[in-house]
Symmetry: C2
Subunit: 449 residues, 2 copies
């Protein structure tokens, strides 16, 4: 049964949020939220109220409230909308340290048969109900940590002198080939492709602002259903003029350490909810191990020799997920694998001047099997080299004329990287699948809700 | 002519940015940037160097440097890439307060015939060259202010207890009808629409987190080429559970005032470059005038009677750009027009309980003809009412089942708004067209670069 209360009675005591209760001990307050759970014990009800900022246990004594109020409260189902007035009592035994002695309450909406119950639900059911699954303690904790990751990234870059220059979402050409691009209908039959990376645009803004970043959604039409993939995910991409591969390694190290420290400082409660061992995050401090691609290949070949990997890895290939997991398993902090074969990297990568088969690129592999969280490197500066590369990769040259202008007019060494926000969040949280690290995940067979 | 310097010589003195010169007076430093302009006077060159953080004038005395260096510098064209070593000298007559007495320099790339010259260029030419136009002082200033606007919005909301919950870009259904939606090809022939607003998703996350915001790109396939329109623009949308229209008015007022104060505090130099009168921003302080729609209509009808408006405005319509400009022209700060006819507002708007033909909505109109910068209001809470509305607007009911769940399970009064970042930035900057308020504008006939 559902009832409606179109307008609320004005409460007399001040509205406070549950995460502010410590400032209101022994005071009368009003809380506005939803019923998270309720126990009863004869003439006492223990409704747990959540309001988005936290959960608090309330105590309703039958003898202390109006009989109508007792009746209206005692049968309420989970997620009933509820305004509670009462006195804040400090109680070290209570989960958050406080309880509310209820003096009055208003049922805004009585709810029964809330679909998500404490019993186990299947993944598809939960994803179909993502719009309310978000209210669950675990999902709530993950998205609070996502917010902290985003905030930490922006604070870090802003305080380090980077200028936000958002790259466009609609692009006429592809950064890394067109097979994994989503196409949209623009005007008059023209196609626009949804960005996979702001990289090329960052190179233009870095020449204007020195140090820049873009931070927005990116899209990959990959027919892949692994636990690491979303078709729509957020990415931050810093880019620096007059910078080299080494600057990218240092920046990656500093930024990831800063993110981990902020999550530890600001989200201790959420890490507890997720049963995430803080030691895993405390380990993320500079310096990170640096591993030349040659040595990573040796490591994989030794793993194969010991029977720890199924297939033999040959020099020249790109790593698959099992390879990344094997390599990162040797370290308790992120490992920075650098100097990949140019063949497996993007066309715009600079080459090692001493070994031209190698690209001045790096992948930062997170520990615990979370895979590549950062990919980046130094960009080629030579006009002639890039013209060759565009021809070799069979990219449409006219689409890159503007990009080549950046090599005609003030070309300087520059470098940067991209970091996927959801992959980083999943790693911070210690959760299995990136789909829980974004409010409304989009996957190959998932466009709803 | 273009030359390449693949690797840079290591400078001995520390690399500093031009905006840090005040901390290095009388010290030897290295600056890395591009030639912005050069004057010469016999045996002295005055190259102006820009590095993204600022512009500084350098002084090269022919007798004080190697002859080869003098030769390599004297013919350099605009945007040549240049590393300069020299001593910082405080000079109150110099534009930024400092000059550099050059001791050494390295030409990283010699450039001639840079396409953007001090002469006037046409708009199409500049937009075609947006990737380098960004280096111009005026464009640089505008995008610095855009960064400050974004930063101010996020700081304001984060410090006010809002949780960032990004809404999806790919959506299966439209928020406000499908005529202005861009469609993309998802998998297996399915269409995904690019979001116009995170509104509906915000209502789900507000029920989970109390106070939330989404902040991302939004898309409008409007065949409109006015100075206020982009097909791709960024929008911030806060939403609050247990909140009313009045809370939206207060939040709008506080947020816009905070943005203006931050721009004034952090971007004084850029406002000077743009010749923006700071008094216009200083006026943006609470309280903002509040104007009932009925009174706005009277104002328009009086304007018509005085011959100040071409057409007579009838009660019940939505305002056009000339109407908004006329109304906002009465005030030197934003005016909040509230209680619009429900007919012209979105289907999910709550109705005024006392006059059901009115929606509990507000448009905040910026002064100086910048139009609506904020639109928002209170959302309908009743399941039955929304079912009716979906039928009346001929929206596909199955696409909104998840949304209706929010009214089935814990429906409470809630409210929020959306603010367009580029429109707000254009207003802060005092510039004519929103296309300059985003790094790479997308318009009806503009998908490049």
């Amino acid at each position: 049964m559902v009832t409606e209360s179109p307008s609320l009675k004005q409460a007399i005591t001040p509205h406070v949020y549950i995460n502010q209760l410590s400032a209101h001990v022994d005071q009368e307050v009003t809380l506005k939220g939803w019923l998270y759970n309720m126990r009863s014990s004869g003439k006492i009800l223990f409704p747990q109220l959540r309001d988005g900022s936290g959960v608090v246990q309330c105590v309703v004594l039958k003898n202390a409230v109006q009989p109508e109020l007792w009746e209206s409260l005692k049968g309420l189902g989970q997620e009933s909308a509820l305004i509670i007035e009462g006195k804040v009592r400090a109680d070290s035994r209570a989960p958050g340290g406080y309880e509310i002695d209820v003096t009055n309450a208003q049922v805004v909406q009585e709810v029964h048969d809330y679909p998500i119950t404490p019993k186990e639900h299947g993944t598809e059911f939960l994803l179909d109900h993502r719009h309310i699954w978000l209210r669950s303690r675990r999902q709530h904790a993950i998205l609070k940590i996502r917010h902290t990751v985003v905030r930490a990234v922006r604070d870090f870059l802003d305080n380090d002198g980077f200028t936000l220059c958002d790259a466009p979402i609609f692009t006429p050409a592809a950064c890394e080939g067109t097979t994994t691009l989503f196409a949209a209908d623009y005007f008059d039959g023209e196609k626009a492709y949804l960005t996979q990376s702001g990289q090329l645009y960052n190179e233009a803004t870095a020449a204007a602002f020195g140090k820049v970043y873009c931070f927005g959604p990116t899209f990959r039409a990959e027919k892949s259903k692994t636990r690491r993939h979303l078709t729509e995910f957020w990415m931050v991409e810093p880019e620096m003029a007059y910078a080299t591969l080494d600057d990218v390694l240092t920046l990656s190290e500093r930024m990831l350490s800063y993110i981990a420290a902020r999550v530890l400082a600001d989200r201790a409660e959420e890490l507890k909810v997720l049963e995430r061992d803080p030691a895993k995050l405390e380990a993320i401090v500079p310096p990170f191990p640096r591993l030349h691609y040659d040595d990573a290949v040796k490591m994989l070949q030794e793993g194969r020799a010991k029977g720890l990997l199924e297939a033999r890895f040959e020099w020249g290939g790109d790593f698959g997920a099992p390879d990344e997991t094997f390599i990162s398993g040797h370290f308790d902090k992120p490992v920075m694998v650098h100097h990949y074969p140019a063949e497996v990297k993007a066309f715009y990568m600079a080459r090692d001047p001493d070994r031209s088969e190698l690209a001045l690129g790096v992948d930062v592999l997170a520990p615990e099997g979370y895979g590549e969280v950062i990919g980046g490197g130094e960009r080629a500066t030579s006009l002639e080299y890039l013209q060759q590369q565009i021809a070799t990769h069979e990219l449409p040259p006219e689409a890159f004329e503007w990009y080549l202008d950046l090599r005609r007019y003030g070309s300087v060494p520059h470098a940067g990287f991209g970091m996927g926000i959801e992959r980083c969040t999943a790693w911070m949280c210690g959760i299995e699948h990136v789909r829980e690290a974004i409010p409304f995940p989009r996957m190959m067979y998932r466009l709803r809700p």
